[in-house]
């Protein structure tokens, strides 16, 4: 064979891995470990829309860990967690796949400096032959005995449900609805964790962040949204814009129902709820704690007299009683450093509930 032709033939041999920028997987948010034995075997992450799995594969010659990173659809993830398909099927599905080499102990979702970024690299898998030695077994079915962070005993399969709409909607209404609905959905999801069992720890960290203004409250609700695995995030399946019409959402129906239920309850007890809310706001202001960062203080360290603390506790209890969100508030209280932070979160939540209730009372949600 002529030399030039031989070289062309060599060049035609396909490469199975291609080095790419680590930016391909930046912004992934850790949700939980799916399988764990002395360390994570398989972890669930999310980006803005998709579920991603990180499978521990190997150690490279520089003692960095090598992970296979790949996205999975909701259906694939549900089938795996139901133990109907093995992990191998998910790995071999026609999806993009990457091999991530990273120093042990460095996790995604952290702010990495330039040095840390330089110590890791990412390879795009062009052919499954490149990962043959890492492929899970044919019977690699999900096993709860390796899964301390997940329970599939409770509701975890996302299902389609309708939110009934009416009236004439403008873009602003859709925007307002989606923002407030998703924030209350996140609150209910995080305050009674079902699928991911350790969410209260994550919420605890957020509640111990400085609480000095409205900005923190927005941050808290947005942070709680990021705790939701993509599997359970609010996915719009269909919108029928008519009078009456509907928005078909795929998520956890029981959590979705809670959002509209609490709006309805607010309308029924609007006067009482508003009065208690007013008393609490006034109290925070007159006790001079509304703008203080008290996130690192326990109840006994608060700059309040015992009767002030009791006042806040009493009216918080009354507010959660009329709105019938006692369990959720207890869960919040357990993660909160003190009653002032709990009160601020509760008031922020009630503000959002009122916005949903307004959409209901004005006939946008039926």
């Amino acid at each position: 064979m002529p030399l030039a032709k031989k070289h062309r033939a060599i060049r035609k041999v396909p490469s199975t891995l291609e080095r790419v920028s680590v930016s391909h997987i930046q912004g992934h948010q850790f949700i939980c470990d799916v399988l764990y034995l002395e360390g994570p075997i398989l972890s669930l992450y999310r980006d803005t829309h998709r579920n991603w799995l990180y499978l521990w594969c190997d150690k490279d010659q520089w003692d960095r860990e090598v992970l296979l990173v790949f996205p999975v659809s909701r259906r694939q993830l549900v089938d795996y967690l139901n133990a109907s398909v093995p992990l191998r099927t998910l790995v071999l599905a026609k999806n993009e796949k990457y091999l991530l080499h990273r120093p042990i102990g460095e996790l995604e979702g952290q702010d990495l400096n330039e040095q840390q970024l330089a110590n890791r690299f990412l390879q795009k898998v062009l052919s499954d032959s490149a990962i043959a030695e890492y492929l899970p077994e044919k019977d690699s079915f999900f096993d709860t005995s390796l899964s301390p962070d997940i329970t599939t005993a409770e509701e975890f399969i996302p299902t389609a449900f309708d939110v009934h709409i009416d009236n004439r909607w403008f873009f602003g209404d859709l925007d307002k609805f989606s923002r407030v609905y998703s924030q209350i959905y996140a609150f209910f999801y995080c305050s009674r964790p079902q699928f991911v069992t350790n969410l209260s720890e994550r919420v605890r960290n957020y509640l111990h962040s400085p609480w000095t203004g409205g900005f923190s409250r927005v941050n808290l609700f947005e942070a709680m949204k990021k705790c939701i695995p993509s599997l359970h995030d609010l996915e719009i399946r269909e919108i029928t814009y008519a009078s009456p019409g509907s928005i078909t959402i795929e998520a956890l129906p029981s959590v979705g129902d809670s959002v509209l239920e609490v709006g309805r309850r607010y309308l029924k007890c609007e006067e009482d709820a508003s009065e208690i809310e007013r008393k609490l706001r006034q109290a925070l202001s007159s006790f001079r704690v509304a703008k203080l960062d008290l996130s690192s203080k326990s109840d006994s360290e608060l700059p309040l007299r015992p009767e002030n603390t009791q006042f806040l506790q009493k009216y918080c209890d009354e507010l959660v009683k009329v709105l019938e969100i006692k369990e959720e508030f207890l869960s919040l209280n357990a993660s909160s450093p003190n009653i002032v932070v709990s009160t601020k979160v509760l008031l922020a939540l009630v503000l959002r509930i009122r916005r949903i209730a307004q959409l209901q009372s004005r006939g946008f949600l039926t």
Partner: protein, 143 residues
């Protein structure tokens, strides 16, 4: 009386840790380890090996279990868990260690949590406990 624990300073910062269910007792503990018995990875708790690692959604250094040695009640229990892990990640022994070690634990060596399903328990070492002196067996995992 419970012995003074090796990581008492760190444990004190964690609520209800190690918990009243943990007791001192004479028992055998099995644990994954690497071929060289004196490999530092063999007998250090996770919070020291990898402080930025995570356990149950929290930093391992903030978890009670982070300061305990992870143990199993039998070699069989250790093997069963390793087999499950290997189905998903065929090279996971590179992380765990492909050997096991059996430790003879006496009541003064530390305290143990009650074994969970699957035979796992956490062993909180007492001050002065030297795991190398407690080794009864060290061999390749019989997978």
């Amino acid at each position: 009386m419970k012995p003074q624990l090796k990581y008492a300073v760190q444990l004190k910062k964690i609520t209800d840790c190690p918990g009243s269910a943990a007791v001192s007792k004479k028992c055998s503990g099995f644990r994954y380890c690497f071929p060289k018995l004196n490999d530092p990875k063999n007998f250090l708790p996770r919070a020291h090996l990898n402080p930025s690692g995570r356990y149950r959604g929290r930093l391992v250094k903030e978890c009670c279990e982070g300061y305990a040695l992870s143990m199993y009640t039998s070699h069989g229990a250790l093997v069963a868990k390793a087999r499950l892990a290997l189905k998903h990640s065929p090279k996971f022994l590179k992380y765990l260690g492909d050997h096991f070690v059996e430790l003879a634990i006496s009541a003064s060596d530390g305290i143990c949590t009650p074994p969970a399903n699957g035979g796992h328990f956490s062993f909180f070492e007492a001050v002065g406990f030297d795991p190398l002196k407690a080794v009864k067996a060290h061999a390749v995992l019989a997978l």
